[in-house]
């Protein structure tokens, strides 16, 4: 178990370095930040001076080395736009993003999993049909469109919910619903098919024939096996959500990381974009790691490397 865990940590760190390299060079392909930062009427000489001052005229590899050493010491550089440490800006936005992501994933789980279970145990029932319809809609409706539509209905027409921001407890409802909906749909389908599959397995038939209570069969044998794919999907989705949802956060003016990233790209704020990218990867990798550990706990076969 310990060895398994350490191997996974090592792999994650390597991946993180890969992300760092990739993001650093990709961001630079998009162009020269010096010109974007300086006012448009600034003279060519002033732009050159700025470039010099910021070190953008040094060879890329030197710049990368510098950056990498900084990151190792927890220094992600200063945001060009805000002139403050990039990491601080990300951390400032973190609570809002965690709040939204946690609410969304909770909603997806609390609605998606029960619907899928009911559907799986009673395929063809009315609840199953509703669940499958919701799953289809959730996974196929573009979320910026749905977000605006719900905003018009619940905020503008009915006046029940705020249209933007994070001022009160009701603020999170619309964005979390829209953000969680695709995951909810995925969970409905996944739970349903997993239940159907596990129910047909030999060991369930055995359990039935040896006279176990159906309640025990469902909770101890079926659910435990269904849990594995669920944990994996929930983990991956939650990891992505922690990176901030660019679209949802922008549409609802939710003061999180995704919205910051959208603006940072527009400003070509390299240090900030990179800090967000690294942080997002870190979130995904950490959650994946935890997911893998959870797997091993749930399913001993994985732990022993079979």
């Amino acid at each position: 178990m310990q060895r398994y865990f350490l191997t996974r940590v090592g792999q994650s760190l390597l991946l993180l370095i890969g992300v760092l390299v990739l993001v650093f060079f990709l961001v630079r392909i998009t162009g020269d930040p010096a010109r974007l930062m300086m006012p448009r009427e600034a003279s060519a000489a002033a732009v050159e001076a700025f470039r010099e001052e910021m070190g953008f005229n040094r060879p890329l590899l030197v710049q990368f080395g510098d950056y990498f050493l900084g990151v190792l010491q927890g220094d992600f550089g200063r945001s060009l736009h805000f002139k403050s440490p990039a990491l601080d800006l990300v951390l400032q936005r973190l609570p809002a993003t965690v709040h939204l992501a946690a609410t969304a994933i909770l909603f997806a789980m609390l609605v998606g999993v029960p619907l899928g279970l009911v559907g799986g145990f009673n395929p063809g029932s009315a609840v199953d049909s509703v669940g499958r319809l919701l799953a289809l809609l959730g996974q196929s409706i573009p979320n910026f469109w749905l977000g605006l539509l719900l905003m018009l209905l619940f905020a503008v027409r009915l006046g029940l919910l705020p249209s933007f921001g994070r001022d009160e407890w009701r603020s999170v409802i619309l964005p979390a619903f829209v953000l969680g909906l695709p995951t909810m749909g995925q969970l409905v389908r996944l739970t349903r098919s997993a239940v159907l599959e596990v129910r047909g397995e030999d060991f369930i038939r055995t359990a039935h024939s040896k006279g176990l209570e159906p309640g025990i069969i469902y909770t101890k044998h079926v659910l435990r096996n269904v849990a594995i794919p669920l944990v994996s999907v929930i983990g991956v989705q939650f990891g992505y959500m922690l990176g901030g949802s660019i679209i949802i956060e922008t549409v609802f003016a939710w003061p999180g990381i995704g919205q910051l990233l959208e603006q940072a790209i527009g400003w070509r704020d390299y240090p900030l974009v990179m800090a967000i990218a690294v942080f997002t990867s870190l979130a995904v990798l950490t959650i994946n790691l935890l997911t893998d550990v959870a797997y091993a706990v749930i399913d001993p076969r994985i732990r022993y490397g079979h």
Binding site: G31, L36, E41, S43, A44, A96, V156, F252, A253
Partner: protein
């Protein structure tokens, strides 16, 4: 098409009492009798707001009586911002939205009023020396900063010493002065290296005065955390990414201002969300709406739509420095022909639903010298004649580039221009490029010899835009150099006298009509929306506004 659209628009406009900040007529003051309580009749001066629309069959003018201003600051005004301010320090506020939030905290020695004229502010008077290089400012002695610290000559000295040569966004506007000298407590002398016609305007906008004692005591970082000025509003808090809160300065030196107690700025980056938030009443003023969003708001209760031409001017540039050398466009007749060849009005109608106006040149409406020339009419026959005269009766071929996603429908505008040019025999190979790459190439002067862009200029004058786009090798984004234009610009920069400068702008435009460095395109309308309870809110052409004289009607 244009007439119809404007007609429909105008009717809706009148019905919904839309206030359009057109150039004419000016807001006037009427005397209105208002009944106060039951027995007392009192005469109150109320500002009349005038709604003006574009001419349909006849000009429609609708008067709306404003709610009288409250005696003291009252209520809360919530302004939406369309991006996140990087800073609310005036010389670091990188773009318009940040500047708008920042402005409310500060004052400068002078102020540019709603008509674009300089007015005294913290300096009640000033002299200019014979050679135009020395300004002596006489300061008010009754002004205090938000923390009670008195304002005096030291404040002006600190402003300059801290801001100049310090690498802030707008340091170079402070660097336009060589020295700032304290003569006595309430007199300062500012010297510029040479006569500088723009100096006073730039000073009014960027030289906001800072409190020396407080600044020295807390240092730069803490000062930025909690900025203190002399302005109508005092800083309360800034929750990054969420809101900036300010409150009325009870000791403001302008009598009876400000008129709202709480002022809140909220960034809402998505324009559709801004359009929703103005309808729910969560915010009182939103800007940067699309024309569709503005139209959809026309029927909304408690919302009025405000529109005005923005000072951003769109153009297709020629190049005579690098890629355009040796091309037919070096001949002014060809450049004139290309201006005649493009039906800009049709482009405005088709792609911008008519919500724009032709730019007659490179001076925008509302700027000094505007109106000296008429836009080129659409006349393809004249274009062909001129091409023949220039020796290209069968036209020619040329490369052409435009940025993608940078400006609304600009790719389609460029495609339309390509079509119009083709109509007079000029075949262009249009390339639409990602905007980041595009601006890099533009700055390296390596774009094709025809390229599209736009330029905005906030100082009420076209000077920065002209220098920026026509400054030749010295300017980052210019691909054009013309010694005559250079001479005009040099003279404008040094012409302190108002009439002389205006004359120079007018003459320059005439010259630029005969020797066009661009295919002149258009200015678009900017759309904002305000809750009807907001009174006396007057945004200016560069989307800038001052809120000290704005108030909100309080429901009883």
């Amino acid at each position: 098409m244009r007439g119809k659209w404007f007609g429909v628009f105008a009717i809706l406009v009148v019905l919904s009492l839309l206030v359009a900040c057109g150039p004419t007529p000016e807001p006037q003051t009427v005397v209105q009798t208002v009944e106060v309580e039951k027995t007392v009749v009192e005469t109150v001066e109320v500002e009349k707001e005038v709604v003006q629309t574009v001419e349909v069959e006849k000009e429609v003018v609708k008067e709306v009586t404003a709610v009288p201003a409250p005696a003291g600051p009252e209520g809360t005004l919530t302004m939406a911002l369309s991006t996140f301010p990087n800073s609310i320090d005036r010389i670091q506020a990188a773009e318009r939205q940040a500047a708008n939030a920042s402005t409310q905290l500060w004052d400068s020695l002078l102020w540019i009023n709603d008509d674009g004229e300089l007015e005294p502010a913290l300096a009640y008077d000033f002299d200019v020396s014979e050679d135009g290089r020395e300004y002596t400012f006489y300061l008010r002695d009754d002004v205090v900063f938000h923390n009670g610290e008195p304002f005096n000559a030291d404040s002006v000295v600190l402003t300059w010493e801290r801001g100049a040569n310090a690498g802030y966004e707008y340091s170079y506007y402070l660097e336009r002065a060589d020295s700032v000298e304290k003569i006595d407590n309430y007199t300062v002398k500012i010297t510029t290296p040479e006569p500088d016609a723009l100096f006073l305007r730039l000073m009014a906008e960027y030289w906001v005065v800072l409190p020396p004692q407080y600044y020295e005591e807390v240092g730069e970082e803490a000062f930025l955390e909690h900025p203190i000025g002399t302005g109508p509003f005092m800083f309360v808090e800034w929750v990054k990414g969420d809101h900036i809160t300010m409150e009325a300065n009870p000791n403001y030196w302008r009598e009876g201002m400000p008129k709202v107690q709480n002022l809140i700025f909220r960034p809402i980056p998505e324009s559709a969300t801004r359009a929703a938030a103005i309808q729910t009443g969560e915010v009182d003023v939103v800007g940067r709406l699309s024309s569709e969003e503005a139209q959809s708001l026309l029927g909304a209760p408690n919302v009025r739509v405000i529109s005005y031409p923005s000072t951003r001017v769109y153009y297709i540039a020629f190049n005579n420095l690098t890629t355009g050398v040796g091309q037919p466009t070096e001949d002014p007749l060809v450049r004139q022909a290309m201006n005649y060849a493009v039906d800009v009005d049709a482009i405005i109608d088709a792609l911008h639903s008519g919500f724009g106006q032709r730019a007659p040149g490179f001076v925008a409406e509302g700027e000094m010298g505007y109106g000296a020339v008429e836009p080129f009419p659409y006349d393809p026959d004249r274009a062909k004649e001129l091409l023949a005269e220039a020796g290209y009766p069968d036209g020619f071929e040329m490369d052409f580039a435009c940025p993608a996603g940078a400006y609304i429908f600009f790719e389609q505008v460029c495609e339309a221009i390509q079509g119009y040019l083709s109509g007079v025999g000029i075949e262009t190979n249009l390339e639409i490029m990602e905007s980041g790459q595009y601006w890099d190439l533009e700055a390296e002067k390596q774009l094709p010899p025809l390229f599209g862009d736009s330029w905005s200029s906030p100082q009420g004058e076209a000077y920065n835009r002209l220098v920026g786009a026509l400054g030749g090798w010295d300017a980052s984004y210019s691909a054009w150099s013309d010694p005559t234009i250079d001479e005009y610009l040099e003279n404008i920069a040094q012409a302190i006298d108002f009439d002389e400068r205006k004359q120079l702008y007018e003459d320059l435009q005439v010259y630029m009509q005969e020797n066009p460095p661009f295919i002149y395109l258009y200015q678009l309308m900017t759309f904002e929306a305000a809750n009807t309870r907001v009174q006396n809110y007057h945004p200016r052409g560069a989307e800038d506004y001052w809120l000290m004289n704005t108030w909100v009607a309080i429901e009883d």
